[in-house]
Symmetry: C3
Amino acid sequence: MADQSFFTRLGPFSLADIAASCGAELQSGNSAHMVHDVGALDQAGADQISFLDNIKYRDAFRASKAGACFVAPQMVEFAPAGMALLVSKNPYKAYALCAQKFYPEAYPAARISPHAHVDPSATIGAGCVIDDGAVVQAGATIGDGSWIESNAVIGRNVTVGQKCRIGAGATVTHCVIGNAVRLYPGVRIGQDGFGFAIDPAGHVKVPQLGRVVIEDRVEIGANTCIDRGAGPDTVIGAGTWIDNLVQIGHNVKIGRGCVIVSQVGVSGSTVLEDYVVLAGQVGVAGHLRIGRGARIAAQSGLMRDVPAGEEQMGSPALPIKQYMRQIAMLNRLIKKQK
Amino acid sequence: MADQSFFTRLGPFSLADIAASCGAELQSGNSAHMVHDVGALDQAGADQISFLDNIKYRDAFRASKAGACFVAPQMVEFAPAGMALLVSKNPYKAYALCAQKFYPEAYPAARISPHAHVDPSATIGAGCVIDDGAVVQAGATIGDGSWIESNAVIGRNVTVGQKCRIGAGATVTHCVIGNAVRLYPGVRIGQDGFGFAIDPAGHVKVPQLGRVVIEDRVEIGANTCIDRGAGPDTVIGAGTWIDNLVQIGHNVKIGRGCVIVSQVGVSGSTVLEDYVVLAGQVGVAGHLRIGRGARIAAQSGLMRDVPAGEEQMGSPALPIKQYMRQIAMLNRLIKKQK
Amino acid sequence: MADQSFFTRLGPFSLADIAASCGAELQSGNSAHMVHDVGALDQAGADQISFLDNIKYRDAFRASKAGACFVAPQMVEFAPAGMALLVSKNPYKAYALCAQKFYPEAYPAARISPHAHVDPSATIGAGCVIDDGAVVQAGATIGDGSWIESNAVIGRNVTVGQKCRIGAGATVTHCVIGNAVRLYPGVRIGQDGFGFAIDPAGHVKVPQLGRVVIEDRVEIGANTCIDRGAGPDTVIGAGTWIDNLVQIGHNVKIGRGCVIVSQVGVSGSTVLEDYVVLAGQVGVAGHLRIGRGARIAAQSGLMRDVPAGEEQMGSPALPIKQYMRQIAMLNRLIKKQK
């Protein structure tokens, strides 16, 4: 299914093997049946495995020709006849593990390109890939097995951990990066925060004296910008995923396992506790605290602290029930006035 | 008028020649009059040609010293005495063709820089320009007459069609590009979509197994990001124009001739049919269908499908009449409560 | 305090010296006391100096162990015993000057890297730094003491003034840059504006024949995009600060000393007079005039001209008092309907 110019597939694997390694229970189907690939519900055939995660695709599930499918217990009843079912409470996670089994992430063979520019004082670990045009400046350290893609720039004294991947054209300064961190192409890390004293005679720059600290297993999307701290560090907690074109201001502290969707902006000195979810285009004012597990809907604007676990929506944001009530009321008022 | 350090002008051309080649009718003025340049209404002189397209500039039109002007039939009455008028129902299009006549796009002479990094297994067509620091990786194909600007990176097995221009510092992977496509500087194409199963023990990555397919005559603005599909491809239809800093999520299908203004975000698996217009900073949720020719006002947030041809505005978006009614009602209520 | 891998500190300096050079009055404390560093209120010790600027941090001020602190006259009464106080009406500006005294911006020693690509027809001033992989194209001029970072691309015939710094991976074409201008990494300057005549048979490109003019002492944040004019120039006035991921459309004129926060979009041909402040994610429609000193709150959408000095908020934006009244009214209505 996947274009063989870009992806290399392993397998086939038996349904029994897949069920065991992906945390699903094989509820119907022959455990020895060999699966050759993953595929979308509307495209997969008899030797492929698919998944159903979004209720919107229930009809596609019913009509699917996929030989096997990861599915939640409550959706089993909608399965087409003859489809092998691998039941899991989290069918999307099971599918993710299965797709990783067929298409494991592969780094190129270790190699420092003669067209890369590595300062003699930099330290390059074992098994690294440094592509054409990449720059590693004085005193930088690249951990074992990391991959610096073409035309990326690793600044002076920056530390990159093990098994990291720094995307093409990304730039990193004033930063300490953990292990298994992935920066996508065009990411900007560690430049000066937007700090100056406003003055009609000419704004006065405040030297930005902190760093960016990126903990393990963080992913940071293409063209996202993370400014270094003004004094304290800017911190991105372990396992947090950040999408493309996001702005993270100086001194921001982001907890573990957060999810920050595209085009979000988080202003300076704000704290996101663990597992916060900010949907696309959310804006967060500075110096706020967003509580653990809070979930903020797309395009919302946060101007106050958010309690742990709360869902908010709107600009300015309200607790979601209050917001929904507001929308419903506006609709009623409009209808009255017709 | 245009700075000769940056632009090379052809001409002069007669009014007759310009009218014929730009699809306008010369309604007043000497058809043999020679025009030497294009220019803005408030700056053009007797040997230059301008255009009136926006009613806001009617007074500038009345006061203009331009020797000639493209103008819509209904604006002819406001013309200053002595100005040659080239009448067209679409004066902006006529002006565009005229400006192209004076300032045709010019590529540099064909040349592969010795400071570019082209893999021996890549295929470079006839008449290409590959600038300093550009990287073309293994198996990539660059079509005849295409221009890869400095420090751009064309990934493994990527196909670029004929007469394309890939801007400085842009990066492209997992992608098939048609003919006459233009990517502006810093564009990011083909990186992994934002796909993972949320899990408190660590989000689980879903391998992104699709590509990005960019059809002919697409323009993609600076620092815009287009993620590759998760399984299906992400597709940008022929003749679509995308502005700067736009985010296009995985699996999105964009039709032909769409216009997507700066800082828009389109979430994963959404479909835009042909000729959709999204104004600046619009956000579109995932898994939606936006009908043919729909027009969405700036900063709107789409959370539902939009019927073909509909204009919507607001966050969450409403049909434009309903939105206007809501705004008017809010204003009345505020005045009452003063 | 600051990580010595990334920052080099001067000093120590006496309180008397600091007060004199930073425009503050030493109200309590020994003028001969030596200060060794700057630091945040909650981290600074006896030989460090801090500042109090935001009322939110008054308790941190009361509990601070900092030996000295910049503070506004009205906050003096909250100072802890024994802290030396440097009183200023603008304590943040005083702190900025002090931090610059300890950590002056330092450029590397002048050097044109043998791995940079400088066209023989380019002019490089005295004392410049041109880093690995940077490209300076034909006819470009780089002023004395300027620094072009790795993999930045300076286009044909572009002029960069003195003491500028062009960030890693930035690209600049069709542009005239003044002195002491700083472009952060990934900035895109001078590409074509989003100009075309809409046509179902294929949108028709309007050649973009203007430039970008950037006056002295401008700062432009990471991955920000500024398109060149369509005919007139796009202009960024002296001393204006622009944050990351901002979009500035063609023909926009920005005055002196403006402040434009992250993810703002300003559409084509709009004028910002001097000292305008646009907070994060604001959108401004095209062809507007935003008056001198106007201040626009985060996420606002401007669809009309704004009078000088006015504060506005909301999308569509209203004068701030009217906006606040609208929000209050909505909240009352919701409560009624519970």
